[in-house]
Amino acid sequence: MAEEKKKKGLNLNRVDMPRQDPKERIKNFNEVALGYTEEMAIAEAQRCIQCKKPFCVEGCPAEVKIPEFIALIVEGKFIEASRKIKETNALPAICGRVCPQEEQCEEKCILNKKGAPVAIGRLERFVADYEAKMGVVEKPEMAPPSGKRVAVIGSGPGGLTVAADLAVMGHEVVVFEALHKPGGVLVYGIPEFRLPKVIVEREVDYIKSLGVKFECDVVVGRTVTIDDLMEKEGFDAVFIGVGAGAPVFMGIPGETLKGVYSANEFLTRNNLMKAYLFPEYDTPIKVGKKVAVIGGGNVAMDAVRTALRLGADEAHIVYRRTRAEMPARAEEIENAEEEGVIFNFLVNPVEIIGDENGWVKGMKCIRMELGEPDASGRRRPVPIPGSEFIMDVDTVVVAIGTQANPVIQRTTPGLEVNKWGYIVADPETCKTTKKGVFAGGDIIRGAATVILAVGDGKKAARAIDHYLKTGEW
């Protein structure tokens, strides 16, 4: 079948990307996916049929000119391909790695109807890495200085995108970051084995090369307020891209026991603070023999795979629905399975049990079944009476989501929030209810993906540019 199609010029099989062997990779924190070689990239790029009306582009919140950059790869013009991507997306090496392409550009790829879609993400990653390897930095054409200043709060994917786009448009941009390193969730949340930190540093350096300034160790709302920035520090507009950084716990007994972590804590210790290198690095982390990670999203996958690499004998996912409802990317679930993660579906924790010294020694759970669909359209899990059992675990990581951190909202008069504490913003322009202040990413919609934050960043940059040029609100 594939052979037949090939004759007609269609190749329905994508080029595999080499990966570290599962047995090896659970012993290190190096990147799992190894990326295409030049030959592989060209072969994969040749599968693109260069649709007249490219649906893939419609599926990309970062508006990447996909067929154009792929055509350049076919010609071996990798640097030009990188320049093409950077016309619209400042973070190709990151997006090529962590975007859920299977739900976006690749889902819309015409080949997806018959076989495997073009591996757009892998190709994007390839050209970004190629550019870095060659040591060249492709920059888009910069507009002349506008004399306007914009403060960007938060240096995650949304903030970085706004900053890059506004700098190209000629505005002076300062990015304020609460932690000691720029990158937000890309640095504290996503593990090294999925997104090496040198890649984030590289993309941040690129944005610096566009003239963007970064000031770390500034907690906006505490260190300085938005009103201070606009009234005393001379910023003409502000973009809030602080993410949904506050952890959610389950509210069950035993969550303050020793050995219970929020996913944020577990991942931050490891990714930002490099606890896996303790004692060379000062920050420790403690992982027991049997680890249970509660949740079914990408963060849960990151945490459970981290636990394995930190030496856990057993690393479990505990999820109250089934595999079909898991919000994690299929690729990440497969990676976790290959590495030996044990999945416990239709199970919900009801209590964490401690020993006499306050350490976790077990977790009482109840079995669930799927009932009627809920508001999210997924079938609601319902507990099965009398099905409680004890899971033998000594470490529990809670990865059931995050919520808005209220510090900016509390210290910014005139900024409206919804009942969940997220900032109210126009979905098209990212305008908030306060003049000159825009917001995007997780802080307007709740925890989502890197690429949606990038998409907001692009929209916000256009709206901010318009506001700065016209003064119209």
Binding site: A178, L179, H180, Y188, C216, D217, V218, V219, R222, T223, V224, G245, A246, P247, F249, E255, T256, K258, Y261, S262, N264, E265, T268, R269, M273, K274, F278, P279, E280, Y281, D282, T283, P284, K286, N357, G358, N405, V407
Partner: protein
Amino acid sequence: MFKIVEKRDWHPLICEMWIEAPRVAKKHRPGQFVILRLHEKGERIPLTVVDKKPEEGLIRIIFQKVGKTTFELGSFNPGDSLADVVGPLGRPTHIENYGTVVGIGGGVGIAPLYPILKGMKEAGNKLITILGARNKDLLILEDEVKAISDEVIVTTDDGSYGKKGFVTDALKELIDAGTKIDQVVAIGPAIMMKFVVKTLEPYNIPCIVSLNAMMLDGTGMCGVCRVTIGDEVKFVCVDGPEFDGYKVDFDELMSRLTIYVEEEKIALERFKKAHPEIFAGVE
């Protein structure tokens, strides 16, 4: 970078520094703290800001050397810089004229207590202060506290200075003497704060405590500082650091403070081996 401009060793184990942190100095209010990190490989630790000079962009910290990071910080000198100082974090102390306030500081807990006492005094309170230390040499800030207090009582565990005994003994004496107390503010080791609250309980005297929980980011992101307050779980970094002492689950707080004792030991021993000179003269 955040430059150290002044340093004073109160004791081989207690050190004071003035550090350049202009944004923090401008915004800081009593009760708030900073998170600092010494260098690229350093951990993030919380320390209360004791004082500030906003015009000069300086903040003052006082700390006891107990683990690797605090010993290493103590080896820094004027001219050296810290990689990071972020803040001010946490909610400021609620300061008002209560009438008579009793401030109780134990050990280096006197350092975070001092700016709060200053605020309380400025608000018009009568101020009685009880300072506790293991021994005379470990007592800090006595003169500065005396300058703002109406009365100061010092206790030492070994009787080498002031009254022999604990701060709770002095507190009990005050109460027994019929002193009218409207509000207590107690800062020190968790065990001290627990017993201060126990002492006050029969008399129903309100007590604010400031908790020294473990922290990572200090901005409400990780939750490692969570502690049960009444029937709610709160984050010390954003909901605190001050809470109604009557509602704090001190046993839980103390238990959580021991999570990394083994690792702290490993880090300290390793540092001692690499830098014996820093530990010369320290028992």
